[in-house]
Symmetry: C2
Subunit: 148 residues, 2 copies
DNA sequence: ATACCAAATGAAAATCATTTCTATTTATAA
DNA sequence: TTATAAATAGAAATGATTTTCATTTGGTAT
């Protein structure tokens, strides 16, 4: 029980390696989503030997384990976000600064009835992501606009 | 006003070309989402000269015009679905047979208040997709299961 | 502590969906 | 019809992600 990241990895039955700890630490540091490449660049500050595939592999495993979340992005590349919130929830993503905020609301229950009665199907999973401009970026925008 | 696809293209200010008509026709034919590659294979039956980039370009333009919809898939490749429903709505996607069904419900209004009050952000767009098993696939499953 | 083994990693190469480039063709409006 | 911008084919490039395989490492049992 070295730290919270060790615990997380232990729960996922993944070996506790310095690289994995660092990946979690980097993602946990700020409320921004990050690409494998970005994370790799940050990793290189601490490890002289660190391969990009290691970053990809671990991000995939951590996302699979539900410890980090994938962000859906128009450029269709991979982005991840660390989130401590253990309850099922969704995310508000700022398209300007990449900040992510929890949205403690899930629309699944609103459509379970619709899907079962009208489509006569069974829900397996769902994707809900809200994209927008966060308060920080709105304030920047409005302060810029105010000078006109 | 040759047909409904010509009208669609006219509205989008895209030139009415045989390739575009055929792409719309292929996507409109069945309630399945399709990849650019699949559509290209089907196009080759009618056109001896048809390039894959043409299919990609047109699918992109049509999606941009809101005539076809992108499906979010775990393999992260591009898939498209033709949908006549002009009202804002979402989709139920069968992960087994690729069938798509309209879900005339949108969770946006449920979170507008949350986002504006708690996150103090502004919603620009949202993604909501329900993945599951459709009734056709459920029936196939249960008839297979019944033989045990 | 030491040895062992499966898991994790680095480095290089491969993959392959998607995009770009350019010369040619085509749709459309005057 | 003719002019012109848009659309297309074909070939090549791109680049994020994945695979391969030899080496290293973490966890567990001596
Ligand atoms: Zn969260
Ligand atoms: Zn949910
Ligand atoms: Zn629809
Ligand atoms: Zn909606």
């Amino acid at each position: 029980m070295k730290n919270k990241y060790s615990d997380i990895l232990k729960k996922l039955k993944l070996k506790i390696t310095p690289k994995r700890i660092e990946i979690l630490s980097i993602l946990d540091r700020e409320n921004y989503f990050k690409s494998p490449e970005e994370i790799w660049q940050l990793m290189k500050k601490r490890f002289k030997k660190i391969g990009l595939p290691t970053v990809y592999r671990n991000l995939e495993d951590l996302a699979e384990g539900g410890v980090i979340f994938r962000i859906i992005h128009p450029d269709r590349q991979l982005y991840y976000y660390f989130c401590n919130n253990k309850d099922h929830h969704h995310h508000f993503v700022c398209i300007s600064c990449k900040r992510v905020s929890d949205v403690d609301y899930c629309p699944e229950k609103e459509v379970i009835n619709y899907v079962s009665k009208r489509i006569k199907g069974k829900i397996i999973s769902h994707i809900f992501q809200i994209n927008g401009i966060c308060n920080v970026c709105m304030n920047i925008e409005s302060s810029l606009g105010g000078t006109k």
